[in-house]
C-alpha cells in the first residue's frame, strides 16, 4: 500500500489537487458560472505558462535560475505597446542600435590587429580600462540629451490610435551627429569584444562578409531614419490586427535579444558558479526595471486597445458567429466572455504544442532533452552546447516577452507587472517540478485555476463554521493563497509533481 502511494505519488497529488479545487465547487454553482471561472483561470494559466516554461527550460538545461525573467516580460509589454501605438520611438531609436552593431562588428577585425601588440597581462588590463572609458564617454556624448521620455509620451485617442507628442523628434542633422558618434563608440566596444588569445582557434568571418553584413545594418539604420515621418504615418495607417501581430513579433524579438544579452553577459562568464549567476540576475531585476522606468516612465499605462479582431463592441452568440462579427465578447453557456481572453488561451495552447513538438520531434529538441540530463556528454558528442544554451535562453526569454505583449491589452502595462508574473511562475515551477516542461504546464494550470476560483470565492464570500456573517475578501487573498498550494506540494513531494528526485 505504502509502496503504491510512493510510486504513484505524482498522479495522486494531481488528483488530490483537482478534487480540492473542483470537488467542492461544482456542486455549489451553476455550470455557466463554473465554466467562465474555468476560462478565466485558463487565461491566467496561459500567461503564467509563457513565463514559467522558459524559466523551467532554462533551469533544466543549465541550472540557472533567472531572476530577471520578469524584466523580460515587462520589456516585451513595453516594446509591444510602443510598436502598436507609437512606432515613432522605433524610427528614432533603431537606427542607433543598427549603427552600434555595425560598428562593433567591423571593429572586431580591428581588434584582431590590435591585441597581438598588447602582450603583457598588465597592458591588457590597462587597454581594457582605456577602451571601456573611451566607449563609455563617447556613448555618453552620443546619447546625451536624447529625448527618450518625450518620444515615449503619447496619448491614446478614443478610437485607440496614438497621438504622439509634437516636437519629440530631434532634427535630422542632430540625429546624424548622434549616429556618427555612436559608430565611433562602437569601435572601442568592438575591440574589447574581439577574441584575444589563440586567434587561429576562433575563426572570424572573412572581412568582406563582415563588411557586407555591417554595411547593410548601417544602411538599414540610415534608411529607417530617413523615412521616419512617412514610415510612422504608414505604420499607423496599417490595420490594427497587423500592427498587433507586429507588436508580438517585435516584443518577442526584443525579449529574445535581451535573453541573449543576459546569457552572454551575466550567465556565461559564471558557469559553475550558480550563486553569482543568481545574484547577478537578481541585481539585473532591480536595475532592469529601473531602466525601463527611466525610459518608459513609472506610471501605469492603460490597457493597450485589443486588435479589432477582438474589438467590436458587440456580443457574439456562438464562436462561429464571432468569426464574421469580431465581437469583443462571446456567449459561453449564456454568459458573456471576452474573446481576447480566449485568444490568450489559444496562444498558450499553441505555444505549449509548438514547444512540446519541438522538444519531442526535432533534433534541437532532442539535444535539449539530452542536455537536461547530461550536458557534458552532449558536448563530448561534438555538439556546441554553449550555443544551445544561448538558443534556449533566447527562446525562454522570447516566450516571456511574448507573454508580456499578449498581457498588455488584458492587464495594462506598468513596470511592476513582471514581478507579479515572475513570482507566480516561480510558484508554478516549484509545484510542477523544476526543469520539467510538462510540469510547468501543469503547475501553471493549477495556479491559474486556484487564482480564478479563489478570486470568485473570496469575492462571493465564504461561510466559515461558527460565524454567521459571510467572510469576504479582496483578490489579494486569493493571490497569496497560491503559496499555500506550493507549501502543500512541498510537504508531499519536495521536488514538485514532475520533478526528478534530488
Amino acid at each position: 500500500m505504502t509502496s503504491f502511494i510512493r510510486r504513484n505519488r505524482t498522479l495522486l497529488l494531481i488528483i488530490a489537487i483537482v478534487i480540492v479545487i473542483f470537488g467542492g465547487t461544482i456542486r455549489t454553482m451553476e455550470p455557466k458560472v463554473w465554466v467562465s471561472i474555468m476560462l478565466s483561470g485558463l487565461t491566467l494559466a496561459s500567461l503564467y505558462f509563457l513565463v514559467a516554461s522558459g524559466l523551467s527550460l532554462i533551469f533544466g538545461l543549465m541550472d540557472v535560475l533567472n531572476f530577471a525573467h520578469g524584466v523580460l516580460f515587462v520589456l516585451g509589454a513595453y516594446v509591444g505597446l510602443s510598436t502598436f501605438l507609437n512606432p515613432r520611438l522605433f524610427f528614432n531609436t533603431l537606427p542607433v542600435f543598427f549603427m552600434l552593431i555595425a560598428a562593433v562588428m567591423m571593429a572586431q577585425h580591428l581588434g584582431r590587429a590590435f591585441w597581438p601588440h598588447v602582450n603583457s597581462k598588465r597592458r591588457q588590463h590597462l587597454a581594457n580600462i582605456v577602451l571601456l572609458l573611451a566607449a563609455g564617454s563617447i556613448l555618453y556624448l552620443a546619447l546625451r540629451g536624447f529625448p527618450i521620455r518625450a518620444l515615449n509620451a503619447f496619448n491614446i485617442t478614443a478610437v485607440g490610435g496614438a497621438v504622439t507628442t509634437a516636437n519629440a523628434q530631434e532634427p535630422m542633422a542632430m540625429m546624424f551627429r548622434r549616429l556618427l558618434l555612436v559608430a565611433l563608440a562602437g569601435v572601442p566596444i568592438g575591440i574589447l569584444l574581439s577574441p584575444r588569445e589563440r586567434q587561429e582557434e576562433v575563426p572570424l568571418r572573412p572581412i568582406w562578409q563582415t563588411a557586407l553584413i555591417s554595411g547593410s545594418a548601417a544602411v538599414i539604420g540610415i534608411v529607417l531614419l530617413l523615412v521616419r515621418d512617412t514610415g510612422e504615418i504608414w505604420m499607423l495607417a496599417l490595420s490594427p490586427d497587423f500592427r498587433f501581430l507586429l507588436a508580438i513579433i517585435m516584443g518577442t524579438i526584443a525579449g529574445a535579444l535581451g535573453g541573449v544579452a543576459i546569457e552572454t553577459g551575466l550567465i556565461r562568464p559564471f558557469y559553475g558558479n550558480p550563486v553569482t549567476q543568481l545574484v547577478l540576475t537578481l541585481g539585473l531585476s532591480i536595475a532592469g526595471i529601473d531602466l525601463i522606468e527611466a525610459v518608459f516612465g513609472e506610471e501605469a499605462n492603460p490597457p493597450m486597445p485589443p486588435p479589432t479582431l477582438f474589438g467590436q463592441s458587440c456580443r457574439s452568440d456562438t464562436f462561429i458567429n464571432w468569426f464574421s462579427e469580431h465581437c469583443q465578447s462571446v456567449d459561453v453557456l449564456g454568459r458573456a466572455f471576452p474573446t481576447y481572453r480566449l485568444f490568450i488561451i489559444v496562444v498558450g495552447v499553441v505555444v505549449f504544442a509548438a514547444v512540446g513538438l519541438m522538444l519531442r520531434r526535432t533534433r534541437l529538441g532532442m539535444i535539449i532533452r539530452a542536455g537536461v540530463q547530461d550536458s557534458e556528454m552532449v558536448q563530448a558528442l561534438g555538439i556546441n552546447v554553449r550555443r544551445i544554451f544561448t538558443l534556449v535562453f533566447a527562446l525562454g526569454s522570447g516566450l516571456a516577452a511574448m507573454g508580456g505583449v499578449i498581457a498588455a491589452p488584458y492587464l495594462g502595462v506598468f513596470p511592476g507587472m513582471g514581478a507579479i508574473f515572475q513570482l507566480q511562475a516561480f510558484i508554478a515551477v516549484v509545484i510542477g517540478g523544476m526543469g520539467s516542461f510538462i510540469g510547468a504546464a501543469v503547475g501553471t494550470i493549477i495556479l491559474g485555476m486556484a487564482r480564478a476560483f479563489g478570486d470568485h470565492f473570496v469575492a462571493a464570500g465564504i461561510h466559515l463554521p461558527f460565524l454567521d456573517a459571510v467572510v469576504k475578501g479582496s483578490p489579494a487573498i486569493a493571490r497569496a493563497s497560491t503559496v499555500l498550494i506550493m507549501a502543500l506540494v512541498l510537504l508531499i513531494k519536495p521536488s514538485g509533481i514532475f520533478g526528478k528526485k534530488e
Binding site: N273, I286, D290, L291, A294, A419, E502
Partner: protein
C-alpha cells in the same frame, strides 16, 4: 602552583584583549559618538545651560549631530539584520530569498501591538515580537528546509511574498494600513527618536552589541560548529551523526528572531512601517550587505550594512530618483569584481571564506 595559575589567567586575559581590541575600540567610538558629534557638528545654539555634559547632550540632539546619529542608528539596525542573514547564508549555507519576511513581520507586529488597536506597552510588544518571530520561523523553516539550493531560494521568496501581498491587501486595512502602511503609531514618549535621539541611539547600540555577542557566541558554540560543517559537507555531517535538519532549523529560527528584532527597532525609529519592509527588495538589500561585506564573518555584514546605507544616502543625493538604477548596476559590478566581499577579499589567504563560497556553489549546483 598558585603562581602558574595566576600567570595563565593573566596571559589569557591579555590574549583576549589582543583578540578583542579592535572590537572594543569600535565600541568605544560608537559609545562616545553622540558626545563627539555634539561637540563638533551639533548646533551650538541648541545648548541652553552653558557648558558641561548636559549641554553637550543638548547639542547632540540638534543639527548634523542628530542627523548622523540617525544614520548610525539605521546602520546598526541593518547590521543586526545583516548579521542574522549571514548566520543563514554565510555560516549555514542556506540561501534564503525571504528574509525580509521576518524583518517586516517584526516591524508590523511592533507597530500593530503598540498601536491604537491593542495599546500594548513597549516591553510586552517586544516580547510578542520575539514570540511571533519564533513561531513564524519555526513554521516556515520546517516547510522550506525540506528543499535545498535554488528551490529553497524560490520557496522562501514565495512565502515572503505572501506576507507582502497580505500586508498590501485592503482586507486588513484596519490593522496594517494596507498599501499605505502604518505611520505615527504611539511610540512611548521616553523612546521617541525625534525627541530623544541620543537615548534611542544608545538603545539601538545595546541591542546591536547584544545581538553581536549572542550571534558570535552561537557561531563559536558546538552548535555553530555543526552549522559550519553542514555548510561544508552536509552529507558527511549526516554520516558522522548529526541530524543536520535541526541545525539548519536552529540557524533559521535564530536568524528569524534577530531579523524580527531589527524590524521592530526600525519601526520604532521611523515610526512607520510599509509593505516594502516585506518585499524582495529588502531581502536584496540584506543580501547585498552580506555579500559586499563578506560572508561567513560577522564583521563583514556590519561593514556591508554601513557601506550600503551610506552609499544609498550619497547615491540618492547625487542621482535623485534614478539612484536605484545606479545601485543595481553597482551591486552587479561588486558581485563580479569582489566575489568574496570586502572582508573576504582582505582575508583571501585565509581559505575558509573563499572555499566556503565554492562549497556553497557546489551545493547549489546539486553536486
Amino acid at each position: 602552583m598558585n603562581e602558574t595559575l595566576s600567570t595563565t589567567t593573566h596571559s589569557s586575559a591579555r590574549r583576549r584583549l589582543a583578540q578583542w581590541w579592535p572590537y572594543l575600540l569600535i565600541l568605544g567610538l560608537l559609545v562616545l559618538f553622540p558626545l563627539l558629534a555634539g561637540a563638533t557638528i551639533g548646533d551650538p545654539a541648541a545648548a541652553q545651560d552653558g557648558a558641561g555634559l548636559s549641554s553637550l547632550m543638548q547639542r547632540a540632539e540638534s543639527g548634523a549631530a542628530k542627523f548622523w546619529q540617525g544614520m548610525i542608528i539605521q546602520i546598526l539596525i541593518f547590521a543586526i539584520f545583516a548579521m542574522s542573514y549571514d548566520l543563514l547564508l554565510g555560516y549555514t549555507g542556506i540561501l534564503s530569498f525571504g528574509h525580509a519576511m521576518f524583518f517586516g513581520t517584526g516591524g508590523y507586529a511592533m507597530a500593530i501591538l503598540i498601536g491604537r488597536n491593542f495599546n500594548w506597552s513597549f516591553g510586552m510588544a517586544l516580547l510578542a515580537v520575539i514570540l511571533i518571530a519564533l513561531a513564524q520561523s519555526l513554521i516556515f523553516g520546517v516547510l522550506s528546509l525540506r528543499v535545498k539550493g535554488v528551490y529553497l531560494a524560490m520557496v522562501t521568496l514565495a512565502f515572503a511574498e505572501m506576507f507582502y501581498i497580505l500586508a498590501e491587501a485592503g482586507d486588513f486595512r484596519k490593522y496594517t494600513g494596507a498599501d499605505d502602511g502604518l505611520h505615527g503609531f504611539p511610540v512611548p514618549g521616553w523612546l521617541s527618536a525625534t525627541d530623544h535621539r541620543t537615548r534611542f541611539y544608545y538603545l539601538t547600540l545595546i541591542f546591536f552589541v547584544a545581538a553581536f555577542l549572542i550571534i558570535k557566541r552561537l557561531v563559536d558554540s558546538p552548535t555553530g560548529k555543526v552549522m559550519v560543517a553542514t555548510r561544508e559537507n552536509e552529507h558527511r555531517a549526516t554520516m558522522i551523526g548529526f541530524n543536520t535538519f535541526w541545525y539548519k532549523l536552529t540557524a533559521f529560527v535564530a536568524a528569524g528572531v534577530f531579523a524580527a528584532l531589527a524590524g521592530a527597532l526600525s519601526a520604532m525609529y521611523l515610526v512607520s512601517v510599509t509593505p516594502s519592509m516585506l518585499s524582495l527588495g529588502r531581502t536584496i538589500d540584506v543580501l547585498a550587505m552580506t555579500i559586499i561585506g563578506g560572508m561567513g564573518t560577522l564583521v563583514g555584514p556590519i561593514l556591508g550594512a554601513s557601506i550600503i546605507q551610506l552609499l544609498g544616502y550619497w547615491l540618492e543625493r547625487w542621482f535623485g530618483a534614478s539612484w536605484t538604477l545606479v545601485y543595481g548596476i553597482l551591486f552587479m559590478l561588486i558581485v563580479i569584481f569582489l566575489p568574496y566581499g570586502i572582508v573576504g577579499t582582505l582575508r583571501a589567504r585565509s581559505f575558509q571564506i573563499r572555499d566556503g563560497w565554492k562549497q556553497l556553489q557546489q551545493t547549489l549546483a546539486g553536486k
